[in-house]
């Protein structure tokens, strides 16, 4: 009798949990692929809450997400039902035609989304953004105060400040930068080139046009900055640069807003953490456009899956970014675009970037090819092995070859 009661209770709880834990979904398959910084981990964990009963939720959050998202969505049925992407990486999904328009699902389940969260192409909703990001200045308030230097607002001021800090003997290499050969170095070039007022492509065409005075100036500024960096800068990505910061070796750097939180965490030496402060992105060469780019992160839904799985995925991802997920712990992790978000102190850099009119990263089908070519071809210049215009000519040649192969030229 007793055993039967227990069995009934267990059975009832299981049924109940499969209904309630399911966020209103009774069945379907949700599989998430995305990057792995803390804000995205939070979103992934939110979607996992929908697992149970007939609903399976899996997540694969990795820094290598862009290597696996397209192949994982090209099959039918697709392995991943949703990919968390940014403005650069959604392009690869659109290029390969693996994500579906979300208009019907937004109409059915998308109450509470702000219009600005919707990523639309000719009116078709292709993604839902949940956070914004940008690179901006991070500085050590104590070091700058000690030497009476104001936080730099231009890269030229940053160079002067760096020279002062080095001369004072406080730090040998006071500037930090994610200049690792490849994606990171190219990203810094994109920032600096935009700051110099350059355009990457001839208007309305895939023909690259970076071998000009803006490009040369951008490269020379990058090399001038690298003189104040750890000599291993070509091997330092955002993680390694953050580690340098935490070790107290760096006083000035241009860093992602979403990476500032960990720099101020309890694990970091309080002398560094308490004096880590942020400001808006810097300008360069007398320009008014910041040498930075604005980014959004959002999610998409696979094209090659059943309508039921697409609906389940949409609901689970909506659950992950519902306004109630914002609390004291999650709010400082990012600049959330979610309704009800109250900006924290950690967000002021990204807000300043938006207020200063920072350019969004270009959402062009071939921008990624230019980015890859820059990451490979600019290293010789950064090592002083060739001139800036030779490096830019190499970049153009590498891009043009790749763009011809892909059918853009």
């Amino acid at each position: 009798m007793f055993l039967r009661k227990i069995a009934t209770v267990v059975a009832l709880t299981t049924i109940a949990s499969s209904v309630w834990a399911g966020c209103g979904i009774s069945e379907g398959r949700v599989s998430i692929v995305g990057n792995e910084f803390p804000a995205i981990q939070t979103v992934g964990a939110g979607a996992m809450e929908c697992a149970g009963g007939g609903v399976t939720v899996e997540k694969n959050l990795t820094a290598d997400h862009q290597k696996i998202n397209v192949p994982g969505m090209q099959g039918n049925p697709a392995e991943f039902t949703t990919a968390i992407v940014a403005n650069s990486s959604i392009v690869a999904l659109m290029n390969n035609d693996v994500i579906r328009p979300l208009d019907d699902l937004v109409a059915k389940h998308g109450q509470g989304l702000k219009k600005s969260q919707l990523i639309t192409v000719n009116g078709n909703i292709m993604g839902v953004a949940f956070m914004a990001n940008a690179q901006h200045l991070v500085f050590r308030a104590d070091i700058l105060d000690q030497l009476g230097i104001a936080p730099p607002t231009t890269y030229e001021e940053m160079l002067v400040a760096a020279a002062n800090i080095r001369a004072s003997g406080l730090m040998d290499n006071p500037v930090g930068g994610a200049y690792k050969a490849g994606w990171n170095l190219a990203e810094e070039f994109v920032n600096m080139y935009i700051g110099q007022g350059g355009q990457f492509f001839e208007p309305g065409s895939a023909k690259v046009a970076v071998n000009n005075q803006h490009g040369v100036d951008a490269l020379h500024m990058m090399r001038a900055l690298s003189n104040f960096m750890n000599p291993d800068f070509l091997t330092h990505d955002s993680n390694a640069t953050s580690a340098e910061w935490k070790a107290g070796n760096v006083a000035l750097m241009n860093m992602w807003g979403s990476r500032v939180g960990p720099l101020k965490s309890d694990e970091v030496d309080p002398a560094v953490a308490n004096n880590t402060d942020i400001a808006g992105p810097m300008t360069v060469g007398g320009g008014s456009t910041p040498a930075s780019t604005l980014w959004w992160d959002g999610w998409t839904v696979s094209k090659n899956i059943s309508d039921a799985d697409a609906e389940a995925t949409f609901i689970a991802m909506m659950h992950a970014i519902r306004p109630e997920m914002l609390n004291d712990e999650t709010s400082p992790l990012a600049v959330w675009l979610i309704d009800g978000y109250q900006p924290t102190d950690a967000a002021k850099g990204v807000f300043a970037a938006a207020a200063m009119g920072t350019t969004p990263y270009p959402m062009l089908p071939y921008a990624g090819l230019m980015h890859s070519a820059a990451g490979a071809e600019l290293v010789d210049f950064m090592q002083g092995k060739e001139t800036a215009s030779q490096a830019l000519a190499d970049l153009e040649a590498a891009y043009t070859t790749a763009a011809k192969e892909k059918g853009y030229l």
């Binding site: 290598d64 290597k67 397209v70 403005n87 650069s88 990486s89 392009v91 690869a92 659109m94 290029n95 035609d97 600005s116 990523i119 639309t120 192409v121 000719n122 009116g123 953004a129 914004a132 690792k180 050969a181 490849g182 309305g204 895939a206 750890n230 000599p231 291993d232 070509l234 091997t235 604005l294 959004w296 675009l337 938006a354 969004p360 270009p362 959402m363 062009l364 089908p365 071939y366 990624g368 090819l369 980015h371 890859s372 490979a376 290293v379 010789d380 950064m382 090592q383 060739e386 190499d394 040649a397 590498a398 043009t400 070859t401 790749a402 011809k404 192969e405 892909k406 059918g407 853009y408």
Partner: protein
């Protein structure tokens, strides 16, 4: 064995070879002769949290019928092989015509990704392969002369570098050679140069990668030679000793001739492996200073926009490179097994 028995005996192997070697190879070769269709670009209004802008995007419907009828893409023949990011015939010809000196020609070749990768790869192959054989032999001879109670333990420790996954092994060393790592700061101390960095200069990065390559592969040569040493005929060694040969003379005239076929085997495997050098470049974040064909393939398919035809072409070029490299060894083996009648 009659033909029927042989067929059924060989069938499973043949099937596996067709499925896992021949078919992928065919696919790679055919991919390298095809490129994606030309994309029809379309101007569209793209809106995101930062506002709306008129941007270019791809019109999928416009090329769908073309893509359905020719799913492999368009036939381009050797176009990708000869383009700037591969063999770069036009660029090389131009450099040759405008060269001021032969070294100037070589340094301008270094600006082309394929030749840059070949420069490092060939250096790596030429330096690492003989060193691996030499160190493998020395370790094998040393371990073999130990007391039998110690041998097992030493064999285990000597094999450790090979047991560690290459990527993990190189990552561990990457942090140890950092300017603030134990080896890096040790070297700074040793050379009394506080700015010494193994990661910042091309020459030192190459040396690091080569040292890593020898460290990682020497155990393989060691264990092969160690096995061979167990079969050295005792009688010959003893008669050499009676004739008054020193240990060095015994090794040179008895042991090494006995191990010669194994040296050829290790050389064959090492040439092939070293030509495909890849993990240490990733592990040591060395791509600013050293690249290889395998790294180029990985880079082509690991970016936001994947260059599949380019990666396939580099794969075929790698296979051709391995074949050229192994040709002398293969010809020799062929002659040994097919003596002229």
């Amino acid at each position: 064995m009659n033909h029927k028995t042989f067929f059924w005996f060989f069938f499973p192997t043949a099937l596996a070879m067709i499925l896992f070697i021949a078919l992928p190879l065919t696919s790679i070769v055919s991919q390298s002769f095809h490129a994606p269709h030309e994309e029809v670009l379309l101007v569209a209004e793209i809106c995101d949290p930062f506002g709306c802008e008129i941007e270019t995007t791809i019109d999928h419907e416009a090329t769908q019928s073309l893509k359905d009828s020719q799913p492999l893409g368009k036939w381009v023949g050797f176009q990708i092989y000869s383009d700037r990011n591969h063999l770069a015939f036009n660029e090389v010809a131009k450099f040759w015509q405008s060269k001021s000196s032969f070294t100037g020609f070589l340094s301008s070749l270094n600006n082309l990704p394929f030749y840059r990768a070949m420069g490092f790869t060939l250096t790596y192959v030429i330096v690492v392969t003989p060193l691996v054989i030499l160190f493998g032999l020395i370790i094998a001879l040393a371990v073999n002369s130990l007391h039998r109670h110690l041998k097992g333990l030493m064999v285990f420790f000597s094999l450790l570098p090979m047991i560690v996954t290459p990527l993990v092994g190189s990552l561990i060393l990457f942090w140890m050679i950092d300017a603030r790592g134990i080896i890096g700061s040790g070297l700074q101390e040793l050379f009394a140069d506080p700015t010494l960095s193994l990661k910042a200069s091309t020459g030192l990065t190459w040396i690091t990668l080569i040292v890593y390559g020898v460290w990682h592969s020497a155990p393989f040569a060691f264990i092969v030679f160690y096995a061979g040493l167990q079969t050295v005929p005792k009688e010959t060694l003893e008669s050499a000793m009676i004739d008054g040969a020193t240990r060095f003379q015994q090794i040179m005239h008895v042991v090494i001739p006995h191990l010669a076929p194994l040296v050829a085997f290790v050389a064959l495997i090492q040439l092939m492996d070293n030509f495909r050098v890849f993990e240490p470049i990733v592990g040591f974040s060395a791509e600013a200073h050293a690249t290889s064909l395998s790294w180029i393939i990985w880079n082509d398919i690991g970016q936001e926009i994947r260059l599949l035809s380019s990666a396939a072409t580099t794969s075929v070029l790698t296979i051709i490179g391995v074949v050229i490299l192994l040709l002398p060894v293969l010809i020799r083996t062929w002659r040994e097994f097919n003596p002229e009648k």
